[in-house]
């Protein structure tokens, strides 16, 4: 008898993964997988899910352990050598405060809900991919915490990030975004997070923070970003495989998926408003403008590339995409102007752009900046010179869907605030845009539940009736909030960089 043939790589992979699964016979499949029918998605053959990576557990552990070893070595040496002093400026850290308060909790939520998928999807292929992603997302949450933990020792705004994520007004924007995805069914979550967030928008969300770190001397965050890159490319592939799988399984899935793309594009795009101002205003050393990033990463790569491929399945670009394109000249300015006025209630500082910064903004936004926004900053500067830094006095109205203050303007008219509303069960709900109104009108019973920070303050659920009451309830410490110029942070930074404190660059041999 001939010797038995050894396994090919492909057979070995199948034996180690898909072949572990079996068809249940002691319990009803519908009871074992209770969550994969109510969304209307039809799956005929789970084995058609392609695993692009053929990753097994031993290989996963080996790669990840090696990556973390390198990352934590950088974190340790940066902390030991007071590396924070070589940042471009302490002001830069406002971007990282926003990241820890707003993005890290989302990584953690992704960890939890990919585990939901790792249990509740019917097919072993996507279950295993989701399980790996769940682990990766926990890695990202923890490595981000550990990366930024060293800054927390010396700077404000980092110390109470999870407490604030559950409470502070601008953080309800990312929180409600992810709560929306986690409270949806598993297939919508795959499209919302796996596809829209991790594929469609990841270069606009994640990359600007990491590139900003690299341009501004934040070696730990940059190292984290590089270290996460291979995980993210797996996640992007998961997202792409998820959408193709759903579209190929049944033509009835196409309109459902299209609506999810429409919804999650706009949901994600509104969340990116926070990133737009970070790129254009928070980074002392600029990477690129929001407009340029949007054109490159979204218009060229996604509209010009991905959506051309998806046409084959009958998928068209997201419903409100033209509105987003039209906003690219004005978005970041409107958002930062709002944050500037409300930063007395934020866990980061804002400040007036200096003349070099104003010049850069004018160059990046030749059609809008000097006419529409520079006058605002000139006025703000005059008020600062007169000793009266401008802050808003009233609380803003929030959009019922995206929860951003109603600061956006009418399409084609950058000086008129856009306001839409719907009546649901006799009550009026307001929106910042057609996109947010459309999302509400699809699922009003969901969005009426939203925990809107301003409403909650007025209802007396946020520590008390006065601003100091609310800020105490937010867990703000003195100096976390308000104007950057003259802040404790700015004073410390200046003191640490006087000559007597200049870093000693070379070791001195002694005896």
């Amino acid at each position: 008898m001939a010797a038995p043939r050894k396994l090919s790589m492909k057979q070995r992979y199948a034996a180690l993964t898909h072949d572990l699964d079996w068809d249940f016979s002691y319990v009803d499949n519908a009871e074992a997988y209770p969550y994969t029918t109510f969304e209307g998605i039809k799956i005929h053959d789970w084995s058609k899910w392609e695993d692009p990576f053929r990753l097994t557990v031993d290989a996963y552990m080996k790669y990840q352990a090696e990556k973390d070893k390198r990352l934590y070595a950088v974190l340790d040496s940066f902390a030991q050598g007071q590396g924070h002093l070589s940042l471009a400026d302490a002001k830069y850290l406002n971007a990282m405060k926003l990241f820890l308060q707003g993005v890290t909790p989302l990584e953690y939520q992704a960890h939890r809900n990919f585990s939901f998928l790792a249990r509740h999807l019917n097919g072993p292929g996507p279950r295993f991919a989701a399980l790996c992603q769940s682990q990766d997302e926990l890695r990202h949450a923890q490595t981000e915490i550990h990366t930024l933990s060293n800054y927390n020792k010396f700077y404000g705004g980092f110390h109470s990030w999870h407490h604030q994520h559950d409470r502070v007004w601008y953080l309800s924007v990312p929180k409600s975004f992810f709560d929306d995805a986690v409270s949806a069914g598993p297939f919508e979550f795959m499209i919302a997070i796996g596809f829209s967030f991790e594929y469609l928008l990841t270069n606009l969300l994640f990359v600007p923070f990491m590139s900003g770190a690299s341009f501004n001397g934040d070696l730990p965050t940059m190292t984290f970003g590089f270290s996460a890159q291979s995980d993210e490319s797996r996640h992007m592939t998961f997202g792409l495989e998820a959408i193709k799988f759903l579209l190929e399984q049944d033509p009835d899935n196409v309109p459902i998926v299209q609506e999810w793309i429409d919804k999650w594009f706009w949901r994600g795009y509104r969340l990116l408003a926070l990133v737009s101002q970070m790129l254009d205003y928070m980074l002392p050393r600029k990477v690129m403008s929001w407009k340029e990033a949007f054109e490159l990463y979204f218009e060229q790569q996604m509209l010009g590339g991905l959506f051309k491929d998806l046409e084959y399945y009958g998928i068209r670009p997201p419903k409100h995409v033209q509105h987003a394109i039209d906003e690219k000249e004005i978005l970041s300015h409107q958002v930062y102007w709002t944050l500037y006025q409300f930063s007395f209630a934020a866990a980061f500082n804002t400040t007036t752009p200096d003349s070099e910064h104003l010049q850069w903004l004018a160059e990046q936004y030749p059609d809008t900046f000097d006419t529409l926004y520079k006058p605002l900053w000139d006025k703000a500067s005059r008020m600062v010179e007169g000793g009266g830094r401008h802050f808003a006095r009233a609380l803003p109205q929030l959009c019922q869907t995206c929860q951003i203050p109603m600061l956006f303007t009418e399409p084609g008219d950058p000086t008129t605030i856009c306001q839409r509303h719907s009546i649901y069960e006799g009550e009026r709900f307001d929106f910042c845009s057609d996109g947010c109104k459309w999302i509400f009108d699809r699922e009003p019973e969901k969005y009426v539940q939203a925990w809107l920070p301003v409403h909650q303050i007025y209802m007396g659920n946020c520590g008390g009736p006065t601003v100091p009451d609310v800020l105490a309830w937010y867990g703000l410490q003195p100096g976390d909030n308000g104007e950057y110029a003259g802040s404790q942070e700015a004073l410390d930074w200046a003191a640490w960089h006087t000559t007597s404190h200049a870093p000693a660059p070379t070791p001195v041999a002694g005896n």
Partner: protein, 333 residues
């Protein structure tokens, strides 16, 4: 001679994050603590799950087993992602060296009479049990309340699929490099009458609504099954000239000892809870009373297969272990 580095000394304003100084006092925190305590959102959730509007997104009432403060439980191993993947990377490397040693010395072919059949029919099919355990633990990772608990379940879930892969590799080695033994093992899992009680038990745990009860149910089987296959049978292998199997079993018994450290700590935390301790004890005792007979039948079936090939007293071992587990959460008198 020594040299002196001059470094800039800047006094830190904080030792760690506010939640940790509030909890532990003004001391530096470990990376485990910073990455694990209070990470999960606890309040002001925006929407109820579409698939379970009775609950919040994270909700202690997903289980009858509760902790007043979820962070009264911490992992005694202090595992966060980095040390976790580092430890498991070593485990998988060590297992791979074991297999290549077994292959180079043809130790699987030299197993004494009865051993190969016992392993093929009783041990290798457990890769499916492990795959089921992965799903049960992944459910706990989603629905447990608090990061310290769910983190342990998350790693356990990944460990289970890792163990399923280790057993599959052992099956490939046992068969000289092909997957025909794995195919036969799957048929055993699906059809062998002695494995059906275990398969039924696992499938029923998958429809158990309470993630913690499902986890207790899994642990009851684990304690008997790991004891049987990777301790009792390991002893027998050493005495019976089947040292090759012992080399494999050591990795699984080592993993299980590590795994039980957090499982036992969680039981302790549940029982010691000031507010929920009594109701936890009742829920745990109720789960054991309801599930232990099925768990015992399930593992007894595996034992019967072993006893059919080897005289190692497998079924007697399971009977004795089961008796020991019956009083697991009985009130101390």
């Amino acid at each position: 001679m020594q040299y002196e580095l001059r470094t800039q000394v800047i006094e830190a304003k904080r030792k760690t994050f506010t939640n940790l100084t509030a909890r532990f006092g003004d001391r530096p925190a470990s990376r485990y603590e910073e990455g694990s305590i209070d990470i999960q959102a606890v309040t002001n959730f925006h929407y109820r799950p579409l698939w379970d509007p009775e609950h919040e997104l994270y909700d202690p009432t997903y289980s009858a087993l509760r902790l007043t403060d979820p962070y009264s439980f911490t992992d005694p191993r202090q595992l966060y992602y980095y040390p976790y993947v580092t430890a498991r990377s070593h485990l998988h490397e060590a297992f791979a060296s074991t297999l290549s040693y077994l292959e180079s010395r043809s130790l699987m072919e030299k197993l004494p009479e009865g051993w190969k059949a016992a392993l093929a029919q009783a041990v290798i099919p457990m890769r499916h049990y492990e795959a089921g355990a992965q799903m049960i633990s992944a459910d706990g990772c989603r629905f447990a309340y608090g990061t310290t608990i769910e983190q342990c379940l998350s790693y356990a879930s990944f460990d289970r699929i890792g163990t399923a892969q280790l057993l599959s590799k052992a099956g490939i080695t046992l068969d000289g490099g092909t997957d025909s033994l794995l195919g036969a093992a799957k048929t055993h899992w699906l059809e062998n009458a002695d494995l059906q009680p275990l398969r039924r038990y696992v499938e029923q745990l998958l429809i158990e609504k309470d993630w913690a009860v499902a986890h207790v149910g899994l642990d009851l089987v684990d304690q008997m099954l790991y004891g049987l296959l990777y301790a009792h049978l390991d002893e027998a292998a050493l005495l019976g000239g089947a040292g090759g199997y012992s080399l494999i079993a050591q990795h699984l018994s080592g993993w299980f000892a590590d795994h039980r450290r957090w499982v036992d700590a969680l039981y302790k935390a549940w029982l010691a809870d000031a507010e929920h301790g009594e109701s936890n004890r009742a829920a745990l005792a109720g789960a054991v009373a309801r599930l232990l007979p099925g768990a015992t039948d399930a593992v007894a079936g595996v034992a019967r297969i072993i006893d059919g090939h080897l005289s190692v007293g497998a079924e007697d071992y399971v009977t004795a272990r089961s008796a020991g587990l019956a009083g697991l959460f009985a009130k101390e008198s």
